[in-house]
């Protein structure tokens, strides 16, 4: 690990003030950042410890939603009685991720900003445009079994690894950030950037901007499902995951909010898929058509070709479960 300066910030203003330099990173749980720093994949010159900031609570919002402080741990968020009752897809997604130890440290803000687990991003002996812009992408013709089929570019096919963010995308969450002198809210759908030719720039955050909270809109109701397909039954990243909030009224789909993990460089959501489902009678043919729309632009790279049929089938399974009569 490279040496760094360490500053313990006392409040948000101080944290933002201390984070002006390009070589500076905030540290909260540190479970991903320190892992990457040990490998010198990331080598910040300065860490601003934000653990003493007052960003730990979960509060009801005036509109009936929740404001989740950026330092709320994944464990506390998953166990929160309101989340379990009214936003169960979020609880389920959190519980499907990582291990008990990691969920106790990992925070809401940090989870959104975790980096890809692409093998080539981690391996400093290989080219990677995300780690070293302009060096190339070894994954396209390499071991890409776990990598993306949607939203990729010739420069990067990495996936975003979060489960939590997939559920938040399905729920229509917003991200509250604080910068030098001003704050703003960013819809999660606008928060991440596609790789294009700058895969090292992953979000719309400006240098020094700090995530202070995630806002959930009022409960979406419906049946909520998080289905994660992975190589082992616990403590593994998703090959494909689906977060679903689906309601059926009078035999027709009244609501379909669907987000996908393991497929792209950000938690994926496609309004055309949802539009094709709403107002229709549930059927295998309908679910297959939704899969066609979702996967119209999907591109496999050899090792991950299997994700295309796997996604189609996982979506169909989730929609079948979500629209069954007897639940």
């Amino acid at each position: 690990m490279r040496a760094f300066d360490y500053v313990r910030a006392g409040d948000t203003a101080e944290a933002v003030r201390e984070a002006g330099g390009a070589e500076t990173r905030f540290i909260a749980g540190g479970t991903n950042l320190l892992d990457l720093m040990k490998l010198e994949v990331m080598a910040p010159g300065k860490l601003v410890d934000i653990n003493r900031l007052d960003l730990g609570g979960i509060e009801a919002t005036g509109e009936g939603g929740l404001r989740i402080g950026a330092l709320v741990t994944n464990s506390d968020l998953a166990a929160d009685a309101r989340v379990r009752r009214d936003w169960p897809v979020l609880s389920r997604a959190l519980l499907a991720g990582a291990s008990g130890q990691l969920r106790n440290k990992a925070t809401t803000g940090g989870n959104l900003l975790q980096r890809t687990r692409c093998y080539y991003f981690y391996d400093r002996g290989e080219p990677c445009n995300k780690r070293e812009p302009g060096s190339g992408c070894a994954a396209k013709d390499g071991m890409n079994r776990i990598l993306a089929i949607l939203g990729t570019s010739e420069h990067c096919i990495a996936t975003h690894p979060s489960d939590m963010a997939v559920a938040m995308r399905a729920l229509g969450a917003r991200v509250e950030v604080e910068g030098q002198g001003s704050g703003r809210e960013i819809a999660l759908e606008d928060f991440y950037r596609l790789p294009g030719d700058t895969p090292h720039i992953e979000t719309v955050l400006e240098p020094g901007e700090l995530i202070t909270a995630v806002i959930l809109p009022p409960p979406a109701g419906g049946r909520q499902i998080y289905r994660k397909v992975r190589d082992r039954s616990s403590y593994a990243f998703a090959l494909v995951s689906v977060a679903a909030v689906v309601a059926v009224e009078n035999g027709r789909i009244a609501k379909a909010q669907l987000a996908f993990g393991g497929l792209g460089p950000m938690p994926w959501r496609d309004a055309d898929v949802e539009d094709a489902l709403v107002g229709e009678t549930p059927s295998a043919a309908l679910f297959d058509r939704a899969g066609d729309i979702l996967l119209a632009e999907a591109k496999g790279y050899g090792g991950n070709d299997f994700k295309i049929p796997l996604t189609r089938r996982t979506l169909a399974a989730v929609l079948t479960q979500a629209t069954e009569d007897d639940q």
Binding site: Y6, R8, D35, L47, A78, A79, L95, A98, G100, N104
Partner: protein
């Protein structure tokens, strides 16, 4: 950097490089070698300790971030002549072979049983709002952050469930 760590009820003044992980501070600077370094990347759980009662991977956190926290290691849970309930149950049920992962398993299980008592659900919990039991399935899922390369999992699960039952009766 100068800072203090409160470990197993004792305060220690330290002057360490900011890069020092909590695990390295415990092992190399405080002589508490019960916590083990397996992968050093948060994947194996051998380094598990409790911070303010919660289990974490001590390899994936910086020692200097824990000033004011209450840290409990395996040395703080029991002694050879005064074993904790889980330590005793691991002996009874052969919950180890080489023993390298055991301190992490026991620290993890100690905090995990508190998580069940607090009503935290897991990935295998059917009803998110129901009270959970320490079933084989629940214990296995909740302990998935602790690997045992000798594969003593049946003994580990039996030991943990025995203590869960004893605590439920108490």
């Amino acid at each position: 950097m100068q800072f203090q760590l409160d470990v197993n009820g004792e305060r220690h003044a330290l002057d360490l490089d900011t890069r020092t992980s909590l695990l390295d501070a415990l092992r190399d600077h405080l002589g508490l070698t019960g916590s083990k370094k397996g992968c050093d990347h948060g994947q194996c759980g051998a380094c598990t300790v409790m911070v303010n009662g919660r289990r974490i991977n001590s390899c994936l956190t910086l020692a200097c971030m824990h000033e004011g926290d209450e840290i409990t290691t395996i040395e703080g849970l029991g002694r050879p002549d005064d074993l904790s309930p889980l330590q005793r149950a691991f002996v009874e049920h052969d919950g180890y072979q080489c023993g390298y992962c055991t301190p992490g398993q026991i620290c993890s299980a100690t905090a995990m049983l508190d998580e069940i008592k607090a009503g935290w659900p897991s990935n295998v919990t059917g009803d998110l709002e129901a009270q959970v039991e320490a079933s084989i399935e629940e214990v296995s899922e909740r302990m998935s952050g602790n690997l045992c390369r000798c594969s003593c999992y049946p003994g580990i699960v039996d030991a943990i469930r025995q203590v869960a039952k004893e605590e439920a009766r108490a």
